[in-house]
């Protein structure tokens, strides 16, 4: 099954551990579909408990989906309708677990050689195994560690062993479940680049699970944002950051101010429209997607897009202005962080470090209309 078109095709794949009820969302993942071209770095992103691991385990074959189908290239891994099922040990998938799952009774070499030794129907001689293990260990930067006991390695090294074991037999798909979450911050940054480099070098289709939006933005070709078992948006990192589909995606992709409002008339995609905030002011915002009339929306303004000025300062054309009072301020070194009390709620603003507003001052809060996004707010 090598060489040919190795597209991963996921159709309406769903698995529910328990159904949704009034208060709690369902446990598991609602039907989800995507199709990954060979070599894609695909990320499942979402808060903890949203169903990322469930999705990944369904692809791996560790869980059996309730419905849908799953295909890698020509091979149908799973299809609920035809009852087709390839057991996990015949799927030729590489996976790195959150705990790394390094076998403590084996050396580094034995850990990495394991997939080569147990593969059904393929007999490899000692020299061939040694060569393949050596290639894998060199790829992950662990050449020379082969005879070490796996338990003597540091966290970062164990992570590399797990990776080497996952890629040693050149699988059709690589699955990574929060592989960096057990590392300290510095190592995590280093491994992030390393992983991305490696993935490009091998050119393997990769499904990556994380709850960290920075990781997702930096590494992925395609991101799927999941919330409570439901796919909220799928697209390139830039698309997801710049044109979030709804208020949840906007707030999950880095802090943002959400000002509640409601549409009066239906709004077309990419339209610029004036809406009335629940607090009463009118603001001009851009709608990246069409919204029907009478929908509850949130106006999303990132703190770095907000400017503060003394009241009465002239307003540039096409900008919105709200009047508030400085609540708290904090010096963060590279910037000042202000929290401004508005008549209803508060808004956060990041200003240059030399900004000098005192707590209690009345200020003009202003932002450009094309930096204010009108987004559907499902939470309400």
């Amino acid at each position: 099954m090598h060489g040919k078109d190795m597209t991963l095709e996921v159709r309406n794949l769903g698995k529910l551990y328990w159904p949704k009820n009034g208060k709690t969302p369902g446990g598991g993942i609602q039907p989800i579909s995507f199709s990954l071209k060979p070599g894609t770095f695909f990320t499942l992103l979402g808060p903890s408990g949203c169903g990322k691991t469930t999705t990944l385990r369904c692809i791996a074959g560790l869980e059996q989906p309730d419905e849908g189908s799953l295909r890698l290239g020509e091979t149908v891994f799973f299809d609920a309708d035809t009852d087709a099922l390839v057991p996990l040990n015949r799927r030729n998938i590489g996976m790195v677990f959150q705990s790394y799952a390094i076998w403590p009774h084996m050396t580094v070499f034995e850990n990495v050689a394991f997939p080569l030794r147990v593969e059904k129907g393929v007999k490899r001689d000692k020299a061939q195994i040694a060569r393949m293990v050596d290639v894998a260990l060199t790829t992950v930067g662990l050449a020379g560690y082969a005879s070490r006991s796996a338990t003597q390695l540091s966290g970062g090294q164990q992570q590399r062993v797990a990776l080497a074991r996952a890629i040693v037999r050149q699988p059709g798909l690589l699955l990574l479940d929060e592989p960096l979450s057990n590392l300290d911050a510095r190592l995590r940054d280093e491994m992030r680049n390393e992983l991305k480099r490696l993935q490009k070098q091998i050119g393997i289709t990769t499904v990556y699970v994380t709850h960290d939006q920075h990781e997702a933005l930096e590494m992925s070709d395609v991101i799927a944002v999941i919330n409570a078992g439901v796919l909220e948006q799928m697209g390139s990192p830039r698309e997801i950051y710049d044109r979030p589909r709804n208020a949840f995606v906007a707030s999950f992709m880095g802090g943002t101010n959400l000002l509640p409002a409601r549409t009066e008339a239906a709004v077309a995609e990419d339209a610029r429209q004036t809406v009335r905030l629940e607090a009463g002011q009118d603001v001009s915002v851009v709608f990246p997607y069409a919204v029907p009339a009478g929908r509850k929306i949130a106006v999303s303004v990132r703190p770095e897009a907000v400017q503060l000025a003394p009241v009465g300062t002239p307003l540039p054309a096409g900008w919105n202005e709200l009047i508030g009072k400085v609540g708290t301020s904090g010096f963060l070194g590279n910037m000042m962080r202000y929290s401004i009390d508005l008549p209803t709620g508060r808004i956060e603003a990041h200003q240059p470090p030399d900004a000098g507003f005192a707590e209690g001052d009345a200020v003009s809060v202003r932002f450009a209309a094309d930096k204010a996004l009108g987004l559907i707010d499902q939470a309400a």
């Binding site: 159904p19 949704k20 040990n89 677990f97 147990v118």
Partner: protein, 589 residues
């Protein structure tokens, strides 16, 4: 593609659309490929465990004096009509309760001193335990008979001191039996209590000390209440074992005319002709009694888990400083060593080097001989017995451990169809040794091929009896293996058999080795089953000692016992060392 369209929440449809059949599916596989091995193991367990129970119930309902195979309650009515039953039951309970109390007090106090104080001689307590675990119970009984008997040193000294002709102790009485049985269980109580005290978090005690309590207040108000559920569970466990006790009731009770439940079953079986119906009815009553006790034991030990106060890594209990009383602690350890080990062992040693039974005396020192040892070491009879014992114990330990390893793996990992396994494997706990022996005789008599009187019959009985013990090691062992280690092997391409062989078994092997040694030790000194099942060519060491003792060959019994004890103590030391290394399986004995 349009994401919103795909993400349309399926609030109403999801539940209805989900095929229920797939709900329990498991990555281990589906269909007969996984079900067959589970089914095979279930069948083996059922074939081992169920027949003894069925046959006991059946024979207890058969009246052998009347023709026909109608089921009757005759055995039970005659049993309940006989006042002897109530006497035996009362004696059994009294004997078990007092012995439990004695061993618990000594064992717990010594364990606390060793684990939680800075008293000297701690290693002596461990040594005492190791050697005692390796010594067959019958040897202890024998030693105490010598020490506390009519002509023994204790009574002789007493007569000499007081000038009377009365004895201080009568070993063939309930108090005498309690003394011996109590000492017999001290090592195990010590081992299990040590595990409990080791787990106690010293922070809680230090908090009490900081609040102004002295050592004794702290122990009384904090340590003891914390250990109470665990100690209560232990007490129930030892009580059950004492109800089932065989050696002391038969060797001391019967000569003294004191009847207990176990010795009644034994007597009914060894009568000519054996009274199967009567002893089966007795056995069924014992099973019921033990089951009730086990039910309470289960409840108590579950609540004991809640009190375990281990708090993760780096946890190290700090010992109390006993100050001036340090030496009192040391003295208690020393006393324990003298009573539980030194006194009985030196009695056996003395007997093994004197040509005929005689009290300790200076005069006798002049004609010590190693004749008994040369006799034991050169007589092919003893060599055969030793060989039998090694074969039986090795086979039983190997089969029981192999079975429970697989059973534990299936049931902990929830293999499809594995629900019954855990219950089946722990069912034999309700069978006291002598009861299992009675059942196995009847099974052997009904098998067409000549199972009766062979070693294999004993092996099968031991496997049944010790499977629950194996499970106590294997189950926590499997639980300790992170499930992702197995999942990773599956993803890497291994099938279930490969996962077990290459990942589970190697990781489980320290626990399995400890289990193997523990079962080997128990099986090689077990008397109650072996004595009922042994044919003339299938005797084990314990049975041989019993026989030789009743024949008056005390010297040879002693020499044999010394040799055997030395060998077994080495195994016991290995086992304790292994369980100590494997922190989580501590106290799972």
């Amino acid at each position: 593609m349009s994401a919103t369209q795909l993400a349309a929440p399926a609030e109403t449809g999801a539940e209805a659309r989900r095929p229920a059949r797939r709900k329990a599916a498991n990555w281990r596989g589906r269909g007969w490929r996984v079900r067959l091995p589970v089914f095979a193991v279930t069948t083996i367990l059922a074939l081992l465990v169920l027949p003894p129970l069925v046959i006991l119930v059946r024979t207890s309902l058969t009246d052998y004096s009347a023709p026909g195979d109608d089921l009757t309650l005759y055995n039970f009515t005659s049993l309940f009509a006989d006042p002897l039953l109530y006497v035996s039951a009362f004696n059994s309970v009294l004997f078990a309760a007092l012995s439990t109390l004695l061993s618990l007090i000594i064992g717990a106090v010594v364990a606390w001193i060793v684990e939680r104080s800075n008293a000297p001689f701690k290693r002596l307590a461990v040594l005492t335990t190791v050697i005692s675990l390796g010594t067959p119970a019958i040897l202890y009984v024998y030693a105490w008979v010598f020490l506390l008997g009519r002509a023994g040193p204790v009574n002789a000294t007493w007569r000499w001191l007081t000038g009377t002709r009365d004895n201080l102790v009568d070993i063939y009485s309930i108090p005498g039996m309690v003394l011996v049985e109590g000492f017999l269980w001290v090592p195990l109580v010590f081992l299990l209590c040590s595990a409990t005290f080791k787990r106690q978090n010293a922070d809680l005690e230090e908090a009490a000390r900081m609040s102004g309590a002295n050592v004794f207040d702290t122990v009384l108000r904090v340590s003891l209440p914390m250990a109470k559920p665990a100690l209560l569970g232990l007490a129930l466990f030892i009580f059950i074992r004492n109800i089932e006790a065989f050696d002391v009731p038969v060797l001391l009770g019967t000569p003294g005319g004191i009847k207990l439940l176990t010795s009644d079953v034994y007597l009914a079986m060894t009568r000519v002709p054996p009274d199967l119906g009567h002893s089966s009815a007795f056995a069924v009553i014992m099973i019921l009694l033990v089951s009730v006790l086990l039910y309470f034991y289960g409840r108590v030990s579950r609540s004991a888990d809640r009190y375990a106060s281990v708090t993760g890594k780096g946890f190290r209990p700090r010992p109390f400083d006993l100050g001036r009383y340090r030496w009192v602690g040391g003295a208690i350890i020393l006393l324990n060593f003298l009573l539980v080990l030194a006194a009985p062992l030196s009695a056996i040693l003395w007997n093994s080097v004197t040509p005929f039974v005689r009290p300790f005396s200076i005069a006798a020192l002049s004609n010590l001989s190693v004749g008994n040892y040369t006799q034991v070491l050169t007589d092919p009879y003893y060599l055969d017995m030793a060989l039998n014992t090694v074969i039986v114990a090795t086979a039983a330990a190997t089969v029981a451990v192999a079975l429970t390893a697989v059973v534990a793996w299936f049931s902990v990992r929830n293999f499809p169809g594995s629900q019954a396994l855990e219950h089946l494997v722990s069912l034999p706990i309700v069978l006291p040794g002598i009861v299992l022996g009675v059942a196995m005789i009847q099974i052997a008599l009904r098998t067409p091929f000549g199972l009766y009187g062979t070693l294999w019959l004993i092996v099968i009985a031991f496997v049944i009896r010790y499977m629950p013990y194996g499970m106590r090691y294997a189950q926590p062992g499997v639980m300790q293996i992170h499930r992702e280690l197995e999942e990773a092997a599956g993803i890497a391409g291994a099938g279930q058999a490969g996962i077990f062989r290459r990942v589970v078994f190697p990781l489980l092997s320290p626990a399995l080795l400890a289990a193997w040694l523990f079962i080997f030790l128990l099986a090689s000194k077990e008397l109650s089953i072996a004595i009922l099942l042994a044919g003339s060519n299938s005797k084990t060491i314990a049975v041989a000692m019993f026989d030789q003792w009743t024949n008056g060959q005390a010297g040879e019994v002693a020499a044999l016992g010394m040799i055997w004890t030395v060998l077994m103590s080495c195994l016991a030391a290995l086992m304790i060392w292994l369980t100590g290394k494997d922190k989580k399986s501590e106290g799972t004995l």
